[in-house]
Symmetry: C2
Subunit: 605 residues, 2 copies
């Protein structure tokens, strides 16, 4: 299967039109300004001198690269000369200051010049990968190829140092990214050497954990060195590193028809979605090592669930979906894009979460411990920029290219993976989706195509649906025979659902989450008063939908709270008072000041 590139698709209305508008009009500029203020753009000029402040950090290039990639995507729908100027300015510095051999890294070019490619911990290949992605994006949208050519040269140099001469100080990158980026470079150039180099890195990972250097404070899981990728059964270590690596692995598995590698990718995916993923699509159960931990360890208040990790999970699922048209992959994409990814950006588009907890209890967060040390907990309010600011530009590029998740096709079939009000017109495929999804489950699809079938994903959450045409089901997709000029009406029943977690997830014992369609809801203190954690909900509650300021409806129901009691401990009884309960989409939490938040609500039966 191939995906239809987002650049051929126009989002014409609904949720994503609003999100993209804020992304283009606010987020793009806001992230740019914050990166400018923090010297990330200036660093590309390579004018930093010993003794000056603002030492270029080892990962700054990747921040800028993701901004360039996002900016390029936004140019696709709205050409804007000032954006092009900003990109050209940055790209010009990168090209001008690259070494003759193609090497570029704004940290090592001005600081430790003799340490280039000596230290595995230093994100050079990670930055290189993001530069490659930015160059490919900018070329694909604008046709300008100077940046891309500079990156060919850099890739060639990496091939020489790492694969041919093996003269680098390490074998595989500490932070994966280069693998998937090389595959993008390969696809835009057709130059097989780049795919081979990606495969080389994939093959070498975990082969010689003792030889390959890594930070002295981490173990072999952190840098994905615990074992060769093809032997793995579970998702381990730093989540973003793991998922970026497995994106590259999936690309390589597809390109080389590598069944063993594909199998490892499947195991990895299944382990995540069946045992190590928050209901929001977030992953990362601990801030320590920003890592996966063990099956069913999914604490809510200390969840890491990095925005970048949810993005990376969607990226990985999308690659797996391309290899196998199974709705389980598209379901996870849907789960992340409506929950754990978009929670990462404020509704005004200006501020960001790095971590996306499923519970906030501010009163008990930063209590006086009588020392200067505090409990380590996720922040409760989004920030405009971080020292390690990977998430903001990642969301920027993600939302700008969200339509890339919509459609796939093969010789016979066009696949509708996601539902967004949109138009596509490419080669023999013309599709118009009219829908307010996920505000409701009605979708009208007009399709002109010579393909034999159009296949609609039936979301995993959906228990009843209608399609006004005959269809056959396969791997979660409803295949409808095309006549060449078709109008198809789909209706997914979208009741509010009350969800339990596996009893092994101790953090959620006795608790339920509320979802409607793919959207996870949460209860905030600002709507429901104090002690949200003590509010109990009947699993058979009736919910009322109300329009809201959050793009999608909020839910209202009746719930129960223990009556106020002056005693610290007292004889238990059925001392509940009925209270109204308001639930808002999870992604909208923390947009109205610091307040309690709970995804998992106590279950009253």
């Amino acid at each position: 299967m191939q995906n239809i590139k987002f650049s051929h698709i126009e989002i014409t209305g609904g949720y994503w039109k609003s999100r993209q508008k804020i992304n283009s009009n606010i987020t793009l500029e806001s992230v740019y300004e914050r990166f400018k203020e923090t010297y990330r753009f200036d660093a590309l000029k390579c004018e930093w001198k010993d003794g000056e402040s603002n030492v270029p950090d080892i990962f700054w290039d990747s921040d800028v690269a993701k901004w360039i990639e996002g900016a390029a995507y936004i140019l696709n729908s709205k050409y804007d000369e000032t954006i092009v100027e900003k990109i050209e300015d940055a790209v010009g510095s990168i090209i001008k200051n690259s070494d003759d051999n193609g090497y570029f890294n704004s940290h090592f070019l001005v600081t430790e010049q003799d340490m280039k490619f000596r230290n595995r911990d230093c994100h050079e290949l990670y930055c290189a990968g993001h530069l490659f992605e930015a160059a490919v994006a900018y070329y694909e949208i604008t046709g300008k190829d100077a940046f891309l050519k500079a990156m060919y040269k850099y890739a060639d140099y990496i091939e020489r140092v790492f694969k041919i001469e093996k003269s680098a100080g390490f074998i595989t990158p500490g932070h994966p990214e280069i693998e998937l980026a090389l595959m993008r470079l390969y696809k835009v150039t057709g130059e097989k050497r780049y795919a081979d180099l990606a495969k080389y890195f994939i093959d070498e990972h975990g082969k010689q954990p003792d030889l390959d250097t890594y930070y002295n404070w981490v173990n072999e899981y952190y840098n994905q060195d615990e074992m060769p990728i093809r032997d793995r059964k579970t998702a381990e270590g730093h989540c973003v590193r793991a998922l970026y690596l497995m994106c590259g692995a999936a690309d390589v598995a597809e390109e080389y028809g590598d069944e063993k590698l594909l199998k490892a990718c499947e195991c990895f995916f299944d382990n995540i979605i069946n045992k190590r993923m928050y209901i929001t699509g977030g992953v990362g159960s601990t801030n320590i090592g920003e890592a996966f931990t063990v099956d069913y360890d999914l604490p809510n208040r200390t969840a890491y669930a990095e925005t970048c990790a949810a993005i990376a999970l969607a990226m990985f699922a999308n690659r797996m979906l391309k290899i196998c048209a199974d709705s389980k992959y598209a379901d996870i994409i849907e789960k992340t894009i409506y929950n754990g990814v978009v929670s990462g950006v404020s509704l005004d588009g200006k501020s960001f979460f790095y971590e996306n907890p499923l519970e906030i209890d501010p009163e008990f967060n930063n209590v006086n411990t009588s020392t200067k040390q505090k409990k380590r907990l996720p922040i409760t309010q989004r920030l405009e920029v971080f020292d390690c600011s990977c998430c903001p530009p990642n969301i920027l590029r993600f939302i700008a290219s969200i339509a890339g998740f919509l459609y796939g096709f093969d010789d016979e079939t066009v696949y509708v993976h996601q539902y967004m009000d949109s138009k596509v017109n490419v080669d023999d495929i013309k599709i118009t989706q009219k829908t307010e999804y996920p505000a409701n489950g009605k979708i009208n699809v007009k399709c002109e195509s010579d393909k034999k079938y159009i296949a609609f994903r039936i979301p995993g959450w959906c228990k009843a649906f209608t399609i006004n045409r005959e269809y056959t089901m396969k791997n979660g997709y409803a295949y409808v025979r095309l006549d060449g000029n078709d109008e198809i009406e789909i209706n997914f029943d979208m009741p509010v659902r009350v969800i339990a977690a596996n009893r092994r997830v101790h953090a959620n014992a006795g608790r339920v989450a509320v979802m409607r369609g793919p959207v996870v809801y949460c209860a905030e203190g600002v709507d429901n008063g104090a002690d949200v954690k003590s509010i109990a909900m009947d699993i058979n509650s009736k919910f009322e939908l109300k329009e809201s300021e959050f793009l999608l409806p909020i839910l209202k129901t009746t719930a129960y709270r223990p009556k106020k009691n002056d005693s610290l401990y007292y004889e238990a009884g059925d001392d509940y008072e009925e209270i109204p309960l308001t639930l808002i989409p999870y992604y909208a939490f923390a947009n109205r000041g610091e307040t309690e938040m709970q995804v998992w609500i106590l279950k009253k039966h």
Copy 2:
């Protein structure tokens, strides 16, 4: 009111007879051997030389002193020459190696000799206090006064350096203890200067927080410097420091009739028991600073609830009880002695908890975080000795002198605060208690006394009781008129009770604890299988009592567990299976290997 000293009371049967037997026969020797192995006794010889290993730690003297105190108490019921020899050996070293001015500290005498009393952080006054307590105890039990006399000299020196000359490097101790110890010294000698010195320290605490030095990693709460004691309304900072200090404050308030100080003591007590205490009588909500945090912040899995803090709470409550015969104080003593104190020692008497959590979830404790750092959680199995081994000898002396909590008296009344199978015969008071309490609530009391009344505490947990005599109630005590030779039958109804926590205690939302009499119960994985956190209990459950290996009965009932489900998330329903639930006394947890443990059980209604 005065207390009847434990040395006049014999525990003749039941729970405490068993506990004391293990304490005398096992714990005494075991702690001695561990302290010997770890050079704590050798350190008293002051023969350590620069460059040698086993540098005497600044708090080692306090460990040994508490052991001497406990050993002396044990001598009271069973004179044993080998114990006396061990004590004499230690005491001999202390006397021999004290400076001419009386100063003794096995760290500063051999290491930083010019740093004596220069650094507030170094526990010298804390160690001195424990040496004073040990000397008083040894003198009171054996009549040997050489140690006590050496300590008078040391106390005189402290008075000179701290109060008269003010030549020390700080004003008040970093770790309180000296205050209550000086009051003991005063009571045994009648020398008012010692009480005055205790009062001086109490008065100075928190007066000049900026002038007084403290560790640079703590704030003013840690060393009890946030404000003068008389201005305080809440319990703050390091729990043991706070409680030892307030023990001294209560002693001083009583001695000097200081109403303002007494009021502060009451506020402090009420704040703890109404808002900052675990149901086990444990205090300390965080390991960071070993501290109180804020009202209702009582996490179970990360509870600190240091054994010494529960002991100190009982010590403080006992002092308050002496000032005011209100059952709320004796209730808290009872709560601690059957729960948060005795959980600190294994049933075999050899190993100890420093921290006493209310939840253990071993499978999710030390998960691979992909770094060398791990989550900081309480240990799950008791240890024989710690680097900072304050709790083991503290339990030793506590259990040896437990009978000291039994009786108080004033001119008219003898007070029965606690119920233990025991005999007392002192002055005009002869009481024999025959009881299996708290295995059941029946108590037979024979009393010969010239007092007018005998007053029985009616435990706060007790909703129905009978006394076979007329009585009048006052402050939770039932006053019975004495005839001179009385036999009184008391029966406290002791059903199993299901207890809820205030809704502000978010950690316990939707959960209940089970108690019978003063004893808190818990569920362990070894009895109940995995996922104890997911087991739900009807608050109207019927419980069956069974004899057990844990001195008190265990409880059996029927509970509910979600059925096994392969999905990580699924539509919530009433998918429970009935299971038998076994609850054991909390103090007995972790005596059968590492296993899950829950005090707060999910509530099914």
